[in-house]
């Protein structure tokens, strides 16, 4: 089923902003590490090591910050400014993750913002694209 069109309402945003950003960031980092451990995410960590990433979910008012070392992902930042910042609404992030939308399409229509190290952004985008969900229990959520 495609992700419906929605934007989180302002009261949701106000409510979410009161929560600490750490639990969602931790969940994201934990998922990435699990995927990497199971070799679903074929990340060349040498390309990501020492970099800080910020994923900004605009309509939720949330920014998830995490970084990478030679082996795994961690919550928090390894420096001052993030090396790469990706910003979109929650529905569009979901569409990207479920492969309903292509990031270039979202970028052309200005629904996805990419700032910072563009090459790092491309590495991350192509890394996510190369995940073969058919080899995981999540395949039934993915549509071609």
């Amino acid at each position: 089923m495609p992700v419906p069109d929605f934007t989180l309402p302002p009261f949701g945003r106000r409510w979410l902003q009161r929560l600490p950003a750490t639990p969602p960031a931790w969940l994201l980092v934990h998922s990435l590490n699990q995927l990497q451990k199971r070799q679903v995410l074929a990340a060349d960590m040498s390309l990501l090591s020492g970099k800080t990433f910020a994923v900004e979910i605009c309509d939720a008012g949330l920014t998830l910050t995490f970084c990478a070392d030679d082996e795994r992902f961690h919550t928090g930042s390894s420096g001052d400014a993030p090396d790469l910042r990706l910003a979109a609404n929650l529905a569009d992030f979901l569409r990207l993750m479920l492969r309903e939308e292509d990031p270039d399409t979202l970028f052309f229509s200005r629904r996805l913002r990419i700032e910072g190290d563009t090459e790092l952004g491309l590495i991350v985008k192509n890394l996510l694209d190369s995940v073969d969900w058919d080899s995981t229990p999540l395949r039934r959520f993915m549509q071609h």
């Binding site: 292509d102 399409t105 200005r110």
Partner: protein, 335 residues
């Protein structure tokens, strides 16, 4: 029923390859993870293992895999390109897509059983050039540059026994294929030698408070208002000030879309229709392949009764660069 052209779809990753096959591509084309192909982007493309798996996936479903080795080998440094051809032959791809004449000669001599396609980067726009490539290297198919009108495509087909492949959908450029040096003015690297128009490490997008600035090697090449659609950060699609007026000078961001012309292309006898976009995600490959598969099948039933379904147009318009489409050079009524 008419004999249908093959639908050739892009694959930048294994999931994209599977998406193409699952949605009805007759063949996919891919490249290796280096500068031997014209989509040399960080993290994109195939190594030996993923290429083998992709070929197996395609072959199990009776589809084909083509390998693009379509940049130009640098003088005195052609080893990587030759190795790519050897690897393609070892992998057992159905054809290699080459542009460089030295590499065509190498592939022809070293791997006589390997099928050769002349890349769009080879820039052969007339049948004499294509027939020469056939007699010299045994080229079996040529991909036409996107500069010819439909009548010119017909003229080429009428005068060659080489199969003719044309572009059907995808992002357009200034179409001086195989000769474009534009990006090297800003970055020192050109698509023909380094396999990418705007290497990502030179690209920066910055929020300027009212919109977004696109910079290539620090040079401001475009400034998008908050709600304006964006394109790829290439010099050819930048907006520049000329005589006090700022606009697109060379090209607007847009995508080619031949849906409306499918019956004429079928009647012209093209052997294959190609989709651009190895840099795009599996979602794009799936959406575009599905729309073109349905359209081709319907056109194959009857070219007279063919009509473009709005759903196909919507699917293709949505993923288009700048969210606008054009018939490009095919439609030049004044010619």
């Amino acid at each position: 029923m008419q004999r249908l052209p093959e639908l050739i779809c892009p694959a930048g990753s294994l999931p994209a390859l599977k998406a193409a096959i699952d949605n009805g591509a007759d063949a996919v084309y891919l490249g290796l993870k280096n500068d031997t192909n014209a989509r040399n982007f960080a993290g994109l493309n195939f190594d030996h293992r993923s290429a083998s798996e992709g070929i197996r996936y395609a072959r199990d479903r009776k589809r084909k895999v083509l390998m693009a080795i379509n940049t130009y080998a640098r003088g005195g440094d052609s080893l990587r390109w030759r190795a790519a051809i050897d690897e393609a032959a070892a992998l057992g791809v159905d054809a290699v897509i080459l542009a460089d004449m030295g590499l065509l000669a190498y592939a022809h001599e070293r791997h006589p059983a390997l099928r050769l396609h002349l890349s769009v980067q080879g820039s052969a726009t007339n049948y004499e050039a294509i027939n020469l490539a056939q007699s010299l290297f045994g080229v079996q198919r040529a991909v036409l540059p996107r500069v010819l009108t439909l009548d010119q495509v017909r003229h080429v087909i009428a005068n060659t026994s080489v199969e003719i492949e044309v572009f059907g959908f995808g992002s357009l450029c200034v179409m001086v294929e195989g000769r474009c040096l534009l990006s090297s003015y800003a970055t020192g690297e050109s698509p023909n030698s380094h396999g990418v128009c705007s290497p990502a490490r030179f690209v920066r997008w910055e929020d300027n408070g009212q919109g977004m600035d696109a910079r290539l090697n620090h040079i401001l090449i475009d400034r998008y208002g908050a709600s304006e659609t964006a394109g790829y950060p290439t010099l050819c699609k930048g907006r520049f000030e000329v005589e006090g007026h700022t606009d697109y000078v060379l090209e607007q961001p847009s995508s080619l879309n031949v849906l409306a012309m499918l019956p004429q292309l079928l009647d012209a006898g093209v052997a294959a229709i190609k989709v651009e976009g190895r840099q795009r995600s599996p979602a794009y490959v799936a959406q575009v392949t599905r729309a073109l598969r349905e359209a081709l099948d319907q056109a194959g039933q009857s070219t007279q009764r063919f009509s473009v379904k709005p759903a196909w147009q919507q699917a293709l318009a949505k993923v288009s660069e700048g969210q606008q489409v054009t018939l490009g050079a095919y439609d030049r009524p004044w010619k």
